[in-house]
C-alpha cells in the first residue's frame, strides 16, 4: 500500500499544489478582511449601504476555504483518476500484478488524505492570520473555534468532494468533474441556507458527507468491475 502511494506521488507532484494552496489562502484572508471592512456597521449602517455582516471574518474565510477545497478536490480527482481513464493509462495499470480494487482504493485514500491535510493547514493559516490582523484592524473579527465541529465539517466536506468523481466518470471527463464541483461548492458553501453555509451545520454536513461517500463507493465498484473495452 505504501509503495503504491509513493508511485502515485511520483506521477502527480504535489509541490505545486502546496504552493498554490498557500497563495489561495492568502487571497482568501485578504478577501475576507476586505469584505468585513465593507460590511462592518460599527453600530450604524455599513459604508456600502448593505445590511451589516452576520458573520465574523474567520467564519467567512472558513466558508470560502471550504468552497475552494471542494473544487480543489475535483482537480485532484481529475489528476489521479479521471485522467488515467481519459489517457488510457488505466489499461496499463491493470496489467500490473496489483488488484484493481487496491489501485483505486489507494487513489481515493490519497485524495482524501491530501484534502484533510489541506483543510487542516488552511484552517490553521486562516485562524493565525486573521487573529493577527484583528489586533490592528477592529473590523476583522474571529470567534473561538470548536475543534470537534471543525473536524466533522472538514471530513464531511472531503467526502462530499468525492461526488464529482461520480459525475466525471460518466463520460471520463475532467471538465465535467471540475464543473460539477463548482456547482457543488456553490450549493453547500454559500450563506443563503444558513449564516455560514449548509456545511457549517454539523448534521447537514454529515448527511452531505454520507451522500458523497455513497456515490464514490458506487463509482469505485463500477471501476473495479467494469470492462475497459475502448
Amino acid at each position: 500500500m505504501q509503495n503504491l502511494v509513493k508511485l502515485e506521488l511520483k506521477r502527480v507532484s504535489l509541490k505545486s499544489h502546496f504552493i498554490s494552496l498557500l497563495a489561495a489562502n492568502v487571497v482568501i484572508t485578504l478577501l475576507s478582511a476586505f469584505t468585513s471592512s465593507l460590511l462592518s456597521a460599527d453600530g450604524g449602517v455599513a459604508v456600502t449601504g448593505l445590511p451589516p455582516a452576520q458573520l465574523d471574518t474567520l467564519t467567512l474565510a472558513t466558508m470560502l476555504v471550504r468552497a475552494m477545497l471542494i473544487v480543489w478536490e475535483a482537480v485532484l480527482i481529475s489528476a489521479f483518476i479521471v485522467e488515467e481513464y481519459r489517457s488510457k493509462t488505466i489499461n496499463l495499470l491493470f496489467t500490473y500484478p496489483v488488484q484493481r480494487g487496491k489501485l483505486i482504493a489507494v487513489k481515493i485514500i490519497l485524495i482524501c488524505g491530501i484534502m484533510l491535510l489541506f483543510h487542516g493547514l488552511s484552517g490553521i493559516f486562516q485562524y493565525a492570520c486573521l487573529s493577527f490582523i484583528s489586533q490592528y484592524f477592529p473590523f476583522v473579527t474571529t470567534s473561538p473555534a470548536n475543534l470537534m465541529t471543525q473536524a466533522i465539517t472538514a471530513l464531511s466536506a472531503v467526502l462530499l468532494g468525492l461526488l464529482p468523481l461520480y459525475i466525471g466518470m460518466i463520460k471520463k471527463s475532467t471538465i465535467a468533474t471540475i464543473v460539477s464541483s463548482f456547482a457543488l461548492a456553490a450549493i453547500v458553501s454559500n450563506s443563503q441556507g444558513s449564516s455560514a453555509g449548509l456545511m457549517s451545520i454539523p448534521i447537514a454536513a454529515i448527511v452531505f458527507g454520507m451522500i458523497g461517500a455513497g456515490f464514490s463507493a458506487i463509482t469505485v465498484r463500477k471501476m473495479v468491475s467494469s470492462d475497459l473495452s475502448n
Partner: protein
C-alpha cells in the same frame, strides 16, 4: 504440458455483439506465436481478455500455468506487454515512465539504462514522452515490456508506427530475446509478411472465432506460404477484410 498462454472456449460479447466466440488457443513455452487477423477480427480484445481488462463471459485463461481469474493477478509480474497502443504518462520522461513500471512490477531500476540504449532511446531519456514521435513511443513501449525480463511477452501490433529500419531491429530483438532467454512471445499483427518472418506457430482469428492454429512448418509442408494459406482459409478473401 504447461503452456505460456492457454485459453479454453473463451467467449465475450459487448452490447449484444460477439467479440470472441469460443476461442481456444495454446502458445507453447519458448515459442513465438503469431496471432493474425484483419483489423477488428478480435486480436486486441483477446489480449485485453487475457489481462481481464475485459472479463470473459465464458471460458478459462491460463498464463504460465496460473489460472487468471478476477482478483488473482500475481502472474502478471512474469509478463511484459503492449496492449492496444503504447500509453505513457506524457509529462514524465522515458526514464521516469520506466521507473514507475518497475515500481508496479516490484523490480529494480538497474536495467533501465540498458533497455533505453538497446532501443536507441538513450539520448532522449530525460525528454517528456509527450514530445516523442509514434515510433519512439513504440520503442519505449517495447523497452518497458522487456524491462523486467518477463517469461512471456504479449505484444499487440508492436511494429505499428515503426520505420522499416525499426521494424527490422524489433524483429531481430524479438528473435534474440526468444533465443537467449527462451521468452515465449505472443505477438499479434495484421501484417502477414512480418509474422511469417518471425513466428513458429500462427493462430488465425476472424470475426472473433479461431479459424486455425498451425505451425509455419506445417504450412510449408502444404506447399503454401502464410498468405496463400490465409486466403485459402477465407475462401479467397471474399467478404472478409484482408490483412496486409
Amino acid at each position: 504440458m504447461t503452456y505460456a498462454v492457454e485459453t479454453s472456449h473463451l467467449s465475450k460479447s459487448i452490447d449484444g455483439s460477439v467479440i470472441l466466440n469460443d476461442v481456444t488457443l495454446r502458445v507453447k513455452q519458448g515459442e513465438i506465436y503469431g496471432f493474425l487477423g484483419a483489423n477488428g477480427a478480435g486480436k486486441t480484445s483477446l489480449m485485453k481478455t487475457l489481462y481481464h481488462i475485459m472479463a470473459p463471459d465464458a471460458g478459462t485463461i491460463t498464463l504460465l500455468g496460473e489460472r487468471v481469474e478476477k482478483g488473482n493477478h500475481s502472474v502478471f509480474s512474469r509478463i511484459g506487454s503492449i496492449i492496444e497502443s503504447p500509453v505513457f504518462y506524457q509529462h514524465l520522461s522515458a526514464r521516469e515512465n520506466l521507473e514507475l513500471h518497475c515500481g508496479y512490477m516490484g523490480a529494480g531500476y538497474e536495467r533501465i539504462g540498458e533497455m533505453l540504449a538497446m532501443l536507441g532511446l538513450s539520448e532522449t531519456d530525460n525528454k517528456a514522452v509527450g514530445k516523442f514521435s509514434l515510433g519512439m513511443k513504440q520503442r519505449l513501449a517495447l523497452a518497458r515490456a522487456f524491462l523486467t525480463k518477463p517469461e512471456l511477452l504479449i505484444l499487440d501490433e508492436p511494429i505499428n508506427g515503426l520505420d522499416p529500419q525499426g521494424v527490422m531491429e524489433v524483429r531481430e530483438l524479438l528473435r534474440q530475446i526468444n533465443r537467449e532467454h527462451h521468452t515465449s512471445i505472443f505477438i499479434s499483427s495484421h501484417i502477414l509478411d512480418e509474422l511469417s518472418k518471425i513466428a513458429d506457430t500462427i493462430g488465425i482469428i476472424d470475426h472473433g472465432s479461431m479459424l486455425a492454429e498451425i505451425s509455419m512448418t506445417e504450412i510449408a509442408e502444404k506447399g503454401m506460404n502464410l498468405e496463400t494459406y490465409y486466403l485459402s482459409l477465407l475462401g479467397g478473401g471474399g467478404s472478409h477484410a484482408k490483412p496486409c
